[in-house]
Symmetry: C2
Amino acid sequence: MSSRPPSFYYPAPRKQRFCSQCGTPITCLTPPDDNRVRAVCEACGAVHYQNPRNVVGVLATWEDKILLCRRAIQPRRNKWTLPAGFMELGETTAQGAMRETQEEAGARIELGALYTIIDVPHVDQVHFFYLGRALSDELFPGPESTEAGFYHPQDIPWNDLAFRTVATTLQHYVEDARVGIFPVRHYAIPMPLSE
Amino acid sequence: MSSRPPSFYYPAPRKQRFCSQCGTPITCLTPPDDNRVRAVCEACGAVHYQNPRNVVGVLATWEDKILLCRRAIQPRRNKWTLPAGFMELGETTAQGAMRETQEEAGARIELGALYTIIDVPHVDQVHFFYLGRALSDELFPGPESTEAGFYHPQDIPWNDLAFRTVATTLQHYVEDARVGIFPVRHYAIPMPLSE
């Protein structure tokens, strides 16, 4: 066949229209022994679940500066972020956080403790940020970043941060750095603004 | 049509055979700007991601006893567990943990702090257990439990626990209860045994 492949788009919408197992159009109903409406296949019987996704990232430092990346992609293109992304199958949150730091900033780091765990229910996500220490100040930003650098706390672009989970993690860090103790922090981002 | 509906099975397998958006058979390839093989649709262009799932539960106490449920369903039928299950869309980890405790034990509880966060990469899961305090010792086990009860630490059926994340959470709790301090604990379950 000589037809051109389509432009790919990602991710596929959450809403499922066809059964992933047999290709039959989906029915929405509450399966037996369940208590909420699911995408089910009345042809093959598959019940399709949707679950929240995890985003994993790192707040890495070099001396007293913090690693930030500027996003080359949507959402929040040109806004600043901590390196972070969706956790993949087969990895731990720590491995995912290391991988994202490598992919987005090209940074060599030593991972520290899990620092913030943040529920973001309106976008069906949980975010995890680790602390980390850069092993050098050389950075090699990947295709998802237009630039990456280490910034003094007073130079954090607070009005140009991409996500509230990034902003609150940085706020906690700057505050905790004053006393030098970084307790695990767990909280939820409230609904109104989009994340 | 008079055809009988099929027996439902859940969850649908992770492996996707047809596009959820247009029903075309899936192709496995690495999309542009990506670095791993995905299930993609060469007809409509949808790129389908799979991500780890979160399991959320509670270690709830009544006086000095711990709430345990005996599983009525596979996997690990008849084994004992803390009330826990898959996090659903639109909820926080805390809300999911409360819901599972209600569904599996019918317990009225006051939720406490997040206690264990456990990576279980070989089954593509992250488990979260909260501490909690039962508001009464009345229990109404749901269809996923054959029984539920409050057990003294010395009566925990260590050899009949359903999951290693449950066993390790209980171990930490019993140890931490001796000093009365329950720090957040984050760790990974190593690969070999199945979870």
